[in-house]
């Protein structure tokens, strides 16, 4: 990992562009011939790369690896072997209903270089009966990391230099050593991922394939990838210092690896190996497997390039797609360059107008509703009033009728009492007359 520094020294890291954006912009818009000048003495700006390196070392580096492979294929063991340490791993079961991702972050240090390593493993990949949706959780995870970086970039108050970059820099795809060809699931998954992440396919548990079978297997895999248009990560050839070794390594893809954390004594040394009754497979023996090649390519030579590719290619593609979705464009209707600011302003205006329109609409609707309700209530009031009148009339009529009845009754009563009085008088008169007659008789 100390060779990491050399890599940084060599490649232009993207933080460089942030330092001098104005110059770049102006040189794009107004290309003018810049004349080269020769120096009369030693100025000293040849220490710029060193300054960059020192700054990077102070900051520390970060690297994120995604491992995709079936349960038990050896992802955790390979990570342990690559980084020569023991990440806490636990065995997954074969019965996960869906594919999940498990991310763990570690801080490693080698000489004076600090590395923040995030290892993301798939859990339950390839175990389900129906694997049509298996790739989706992986794609979602990668997109989520891009999205959070984009959000940070678009913030008003942002702190990109402090931001913990969680975007996936490299994806190790573990191919099962069947010896024939890729599985259908491998093809489908890699096709979905090749535009989002740097895919490095590896053949896992390669100690089950003999040399001749391995040669045929590698050729078959590469031809299947090519014929299906899957773009895997190619080690860069633009830098002369590493172009040669990268070209050779590109020809050895996919790497056939064997992982082991156990040590076996071979000769008079303890080496990482697997002990079989018929022999010992040494992990770091180039004759036995391609582990050393993978370690060199992934960590020693191309780690920085992987990070750069992630940022300049995959992330930019994601960003472009996302912004286009939101309606931002680089060129306006008359092919005039439109800046983000203008588009943003226009969008904001649009939004505010829309908002105003909606508000007006709502207000109108409210007024109308009120009117309706008012008329309804008035109507009800009128109705109530008429009913009241009607009832009142009825009541008056009845009262009149009753009064009439009472009068008649009173009349009857008075005539009756008159007649009774008369009858009584008559009776009293007849009684006295009878009494007199009796008296007369008696005499």
């Amino acid at each position: 990992m100390a060779t990491f520094l050399n890599e940084v020294w060599r490649t232009r890291s993207y933080s460089n562009q942030d330092i001098c954006p104005k110059i770049n912009a102006s040189s794009k818009q107004r290309p003018r011939r810049v004349r080269p000048l020769s120096l009369a003495g030693h100025v000293g700006f040849d220490s710029l790369p060193d300054q960059l390196v020192n700054k990077s070392i102070c900051q520390g580096f970060c690297f994120n690896i995604l491992c995709i492979g079936e349960t038990g294929i050896g992802k955790s063991t390979l990570m342990d072997t690559l980084f020569n340490t023991n990440f806490e791993n636990f065995e997954s079961s074969h019965f996960e209903p869906q594919v999940k991702l498990r991310a763990q972050t570690y801080d490693l240090q080698e000489s004076n270089v600090r590395l923040r390593l995030t290892v993301v493993n798939t859990v339950g990949f390839g175990d389900q009966m129906n694997k049509q949706e298996s790739y989706q959780p992986v794609v979602d995870y990668i997109d989520r990391q891009f999205e959070s970086y984009l959000q940070e970039e678009l913030k008003i108050k942002r702190s990109l230099h402090n931001y913990h970059d969680s975007r996936v820099h490299a994806c190790l795809y573990f191919i099962s050593p069947s010896g024939h060809s890729l599985k259908s699931l491998d093809l489908v998954t890699m096709k979905k991922l090749d535009s989002k992440v740097n895919i490095i396919p590896v053949i896992a548990k390669a100690d089950t394939i003999s040399k001749s079978e391995l040669h045929k297997f590698k050729i078959k895999i590469m031809s299947e990838l090519v014929s299906n248009g899957v773009q895997i990560y190619q080690f860069p050839l633009d830098d002369e210092t590493v172009a040669k070794v990268n070209t050779t390594m590109n020809g050895h893809l996919p790497f056939a690896v064997v992982g082991s954390t156990e040590e076996v004594s071979v000769g008079n040394k303890m080496v990482k190996a697997r002990q079989y009754p018929w022999g010992v497979v040494q992990v770091e023996n180039e004759n036995h497997c391609d582990f050393v090649k993978l370690r060199e390519m992934l960590i020693c030579v191309n780690m920085e390039d992987l990070r750069e590719q992630t940022h300049t290619r995959h992330y930019e593609l994601y960003r472009r797609c996302k912004l286009e979705e939101m309606g931002f464009k680089d060129t306006g209707p008359e092919s005039k360059p439109v800046s983000l600011q203008q588009t943003y302003e226009a969008k904001r205006q649009e939004f505010l107008v829309e908002l105003q329109k909606r508000e007006d609409e709502m207000r109108q609707m409210f007024v109308q509703r009120v009117k309706e309700k008012e008329s309804e209530l008035k109507e009800a009031e009128r109705e109530l009033q008429s009913r009241f009148e009607q009832l009142k009339r009825l009541h008056a009529d009845e009262k009149a009728a009753l009064e009439e009845k009472k009068r008649l009754l009173d009349e009857d009563q008075s005539s009756f009492s008159k007649r009774r009085a008369a009858a009584q008088l008559l009776q009293a008169q007849s009684l006295t007359a009878n009494g007199k007659k009796d008296k007369d008789r008696k005499k």
Binding site: H94, P177, S178, E224, P277, H288
Partner: protein
């Protein structure tokens, strides 16, 4: 000849008269042997498992022939939505005058597609079809040449790359456990160290118990066998499921030419019991238990199928009388 005279044998002429009590039916085994050699044997073996687990190579190693001369392997893109097919290869092989008609049933495409729901259906349909065929033949009127195409044994290949059984393994074995003798194997065992093999076998045995999968059980040996045989038998039973390696190539190892795989770090010998369980599998499958597999297929699995079939037939409303006559015919013959 009356019954009595049939049993009274003619004692072979001898002067000392020792063989007076010799009846002669001790030669029955020889007669059986002779007849069976004349008739010849047949055996149907099914191999199932994902592509690339070494099924064809193992079959070639078991029977020491090359059964799959020109087979076409599909590309990954073609296998995305592949359906399971059934392919039969029948060969006649002979050893010391004993003829064997061997049929290998292959299941290309099993577990290869992206969506493998019910991928075992083609396999169970095939097995049922063979049972039905035999059932029809057995209940037919002319039963001289009944061909027994029923599947006698199914070798199921479990990949060694995982931690145990996967959902597709469990579903397949459970679908087939009542129709055929299932023998699970750990394929490509040369990617596991001895301690890893031990752990995986224990795990598999545990999971097979846990999920209630009925695999083929070796019959217990009789109690009057000698200790050596009993020990061997016990060892055999404790090393299931067998971890096998197959090879199509012959390599030079320890001065001999053996079937094996050549690696930069050593040579794996297929027939070395310290390297894998191939020899045990061969012994069980061919040398000692082949007939037992056939017996269980016909006495157990086929009878279950037949009983089920008759039950569904008699309980259905439209029951043709001709079929009933056939069944009764067959039942009568069995009784006789």
């Amino acid at each position: 000849m009356t019954a009595n005279s049939r049993y009274r044998s003619r004692a072979p002429r001898s002067d000392d008269g020792e063989e007076k009590d010799y009846v002669g039916f001790a030669t029955l085994p020889n007669q059986v042997h002779r007849k069976s050699v004349k008739k010849g044997f047949d055996f149907t073996l099914m191999v199932a498992g994902e592509s690339g687990l070494g099924k064809s190579t193992l079959v070639n190693s078991l029977f020491l022939t090359d059964l799959h001369k020109d087979r076409k392997l599909l590309n990954a893109e073609e296998r995305i939505s592949q359906t399971v097919e059934i392919m039969k290869h029948t060969v006649d092989i002979e050893e010391k005058g004993v003829k064997l008609k061997l049929t290998i049933v292959d299941t290309p495409g099993f577990g290869d597609a992206v969506n493998n729901t019910e991928c075992w259906r083609a396999v169970t349909d095939y097995i049922d079809q063979q049972f039905e065929h035999y059932f029809r033949d057995e209940s037919g009127l002319n039963r001289k040449n009944i061909q027994d195409n029923r599947v006698h044994c199914c070798l199921y290949f479990i990949p060694p790359f995982g931690h145990g059984l996967r959902p597709v393994d469990i579903e397949f074995m459970k679908a087939l456990q009542d129709k055929v003798n299932v023998v699970p194997l750990i394929a490509k065992a040369d990617c596991l160290t001895p301690s890893e093999i031990k752990k995986l076998k224990e795990r598999l045995r545990e999971e097979i118990d846990k999920y209630g999968i009925k695999i083929y059980q070796f019959p217990d040996c009789d109690s009057d066998e000698d200790e050596e045989f009993k020990r061997q038998d016990k060892e055999l039973k404790e090393s299931t499921p067998f971890a096998v390696i197959g090879s199509n190539t012959v390599v030079e190892a320890r001065g001999q030419r053996v079937r094996g795989r050549l690696y930069p770090w050593g040579i794996v010998e297929v027939e070395n019991p310290a390297h894998c369980d191939f020899v045990k599998l061969r012994t069980i499958l061919i040398r000692t238990h082949m007939h037992d597999l056939k017996d269980i297929t016909s006495d157990c699995h086929y009878e279950n199928y037949r009983a089920q079939c008759i039950q569904t037939m008699t309980s259905s409303p439209d029951f043709p009388s001709i079929q009933l006559a056939n069944i009764m015919h067959g039942a009568l013959f069995k009784l006789l």
